[in-house]
Symmetry: C2
Subunit: 477 residues, 2 copies
């Protein structure tokens, strides 16, 4: 794991930058000998661990964690016709155990509806069993034939958080969709990643759903990245899998369901939205190391400075920070490079002059320098990190806002989607959508937009001139 | 998820008891439609979550967590001859993606040596990269043809914690084996599960290892359950996968490796060792709910009692306990039954007399009743729970000691293994082992025994009369 000290590609060459930063910052190793499968380096896994800790805490407020099997018998998998159509080209099949051919081939779950819902049918008997809200964090599989990309388009999604709920009525399920969107919004707020919520066009919703609301962010190259989806399933699956309950009047009723998921694309968003030309930039909430303490050791005051830095590290650790003392025998500049590449939010330098003045120098990953009093250093650093996090949110919001353009014509749309997202009036018909998409080489990603960065309005459809509403058009990952 | 209020089978009928408690205490649902695959109920998953939190904390002292892919190309998997021989009859093969046959079949990892070591060969360059100590918690797969059993013999092991280390010398790797055994011992101490360490016979070691030291516990039916293994791999795999490093003199050297694992058998041990005729008994460290507060509501003092119980719950939660208030409208007895079945370590009752006397009544899962002063209740409960945990350890140690018999003849061995473990002198030869095993219908599970419950000695082999040492003979899971 040697350090490559060459320059990172500029972030404006986003694709090159992304590929390089993944191994330079030790997030993923792409050299695993199967296409679309990658290895988490410990540093990358540390980010995932903190991010999923946040996600689990949010889910645990109101859901219980559980775990279902990876392997789904073909007989169960093939029960729900629309669902199969959506996935059958992407499913990996286990056909042999040892030297024997299996009687029934087993699918590697592409998502777990068909594993979970037969059990829900057994578990739910009465209205008192509802609502049922469970989630799991598991690996799922897609036989991707498109170009694969670490964290973004994978054959093994190692970190799929999927929730599955059952309710007594359509209205309660619809209300759960809003609860889920609120949790996801809060999750991405903590990650300092701005998002846009919108309703997917009908032809792009989850196979078997009434409707799908997606959570997207905009990547530095202007393409959108879907980083969460919430599906209203209605009674579609409950009719297939016989998920029924006895209501208060003793009548059998079908349950109404939702499901919603987030994957390691959330980590791709953190990497891409915040990183810069020097490497990763991590929000404090997901940084495996929040603070690196670097002693500036010169000549004969070495022991004194090292003792001071060590005491500082202990004090910060006791205060609950993820802190690391870097006392390696190398130039401070090389250490700065190392930790900047890995996105550590704050570097604290301790030199002879700091020891004399009873101060420390705190430098954020984005270069803001503050001299802090050594007494009360915990409060000082708490405040610097908090401001740093808020600054990341602000910068990310501004960058996203700059990539969104309200447009009135197909020509303007075509121009806007070269570097970002176009907001255009669209009547909602598939016919007009196809014309827009053909004209601008991008997709209608959603309507019913919810984002405080986008003003929505009614207006004439950019194609047919009929009654239209704001919709998002973008190139997508 | 209705409550079945019938009696649990007696624990002395262990097999029936085990099968029933898994669903009665909501640990696993066995009704998933594939043999050997089971579903974690939220309560069972909560136990797993706490147990694996303890395990991760232990590992994180000195290892980094990471994650490697599930799918291993056949070409990599088949490189290490001994290893393949050990696993080829048990491997599930993915042969199709969508409608296409794959060029190279992909194995579902039965264990991850062949996924991890090709990456280690890329990562390790210099002696400064060593030691390397990583671990992951993943699902692994075995096409078991034997009778499967939840948590014990599975086709999907959902909770495999496997560590893989590389060292500069054989001696350093051997020292790591001892470190790993220390961590595992500490883990099981926290779970209040007594263990015996022993060296597996050569024909029973991990395929490709120099030697294997196993961690076993004894189940209520006298069979041993292997709940951890630590393998000294020597340079066996490093030669196959070209894991080399440059030493301080600039010479290329092979690395020396160890690997060690723990699975959800750890949860099976907690369930089996501590449970009783009323249900599960959980050590506080792994209980998803440590304390249930039950208001004893009678007549007109209902509001007052409920307010007192609610205040108590808050205070205990603020003190860091996993606490639940059970204010359901049902008889206290039915509540007691419910929480006893699920193994909650402590029930705290609050009734009108307690409100008057400013006391609460704490009842441990094993029936020890203490009246505690309401002031200082946190300290009182901390002490009761701590004693409860120690009592579980003591009871489990006594039960294990009662199942171990030192024997001097094959007849005595045959008698002892009917209800437990025999300790017999054995010369170490496979020939004598086979004679012992045939005579007593049980297996030599290990020599070089380490357990403070077993005195080891030298003596004449029970078969050939040659020089022998203490060895364990038992029926095994």
């Amino acid at each position: 794991m040697e350090e490559d000290t060459g320059a990172l590609p500029r972030k404006e060459s986003f694709s090159e930058w992304y590929n390089e930063i993944l191994w330079r910052a030790e997030i993923m190793d792409v050299r695993y000998p199967v296409k679309g499968l990658y290895v988490w380096y410990p540093h990358g896994f540390g980010i995932r661990k903190r991010a999923y800790g946040i996600l689990r805490d949010l889910m645990d407020r109101d859901h219980a964690e559980t775990m279902f099997p990876l392997l789904i018998p073909k007989t169960e998998f093939m029960k729900e016709a629309e669902h199969i159509k959506g996935f059958e080209d992407e499913v990996y099949w286990v056909t042999h155990g040892g030297r024997n051919e299996l009687d029934v081939p087993l699918a590697l779950r592409p998502t777990s509806e068909t594993a979970i819902y037969p059990m829900y049918a057994l578990w739910i008997r009465s209205h008192t069993d509802l609502p049922l809200k469970l989630y799991q964090v598991v690996n799922t599989f897609r036989y991707e034939t498109k170009h694969t990309r670490p964290l973004i388009r994978l054959r093994e999604i190692t970190s799929f958080k999927e929730a599955h709920t059952v309710h007594a009525s359509w209205e309660e399920a619809a209300a759960q969709v809003e609860v889920a969107l609120g949790l996801y919004k809060e999750f991405y707020d903590t990650l300092r990643v701005p998002v846009i919520l919108s309703r997917r066009p009908d032809w792009d919703k989850f196979p078997g759903a009434d409707y799908t609301i997606a959570v997207d962010t905009i990547m530095p190259d202007g393409k959108t990245l879907q980083i969460g989806t919430v599906h209203m399933l209605g009674d579609h699956f409950s009719r297939t899998y016989a998920i029924t309950y006895e209501d208060a009047n003793g009548e059998q009723q079908y349950g109404y369901q939702t499901c919603y998921g987030i994957s390691e694309r959330s980590i791709a968003a953190v990497v891409s939205v915040h990183g810069d030309d020097k490497g990763l930039v991590l929000p404090p909430a997901v940084a495996p190391i929040e603070i690196v303490v670097v002693p500036i050791i010169v000549g004969k005051r070495r022991d004194e400075v090292l003792a001071s830095a060590t005491a500082l590290e202990s004090e910060l650790r006791d205060a609950g920070f993820a802190v690391k003392l870097d006392a390696r025998d190398m130039r401070p500049g090389a250490k700065y490079y190392h930790w900047e590449m890995r996105g550590v939010p704050l570097r604290v330098e301790v030199g002879p002059r700091d020891v004399d003045a009873n101060t420390v120098v705190a430098v954020t990953r984005t270069g803001k320098k503050t001299t802090l009093d050594r007494r009360g250093v915990v409060e000082g650093i708490t405040s610097v990190l908090s401001t740093f996090g808020e600054d990341l949110s602000q910068a990310a919001r501004q960058a996203m806002a700059a990539r969104i353009t309200a447009v009135a014509t197909l020509e303007e749309t075509a121009e806007a989607v070269k570097s970002g997202v176009a907001v255009v009036h669209w009547c909602g018909s598939q016919e007009c959508a196809e014309k827009i998409e053909a004209a601008v080489d991008a997709s209608i990603i959603g309507s019913d937009i919810r984002s405080d960065l986008i003003a929505v309005s009614d207006g004439p459809c950019v194609v047919c001139g009929g009654e239209g509403r704001s919709a998002l058009v973008a190139r997508t990952y």
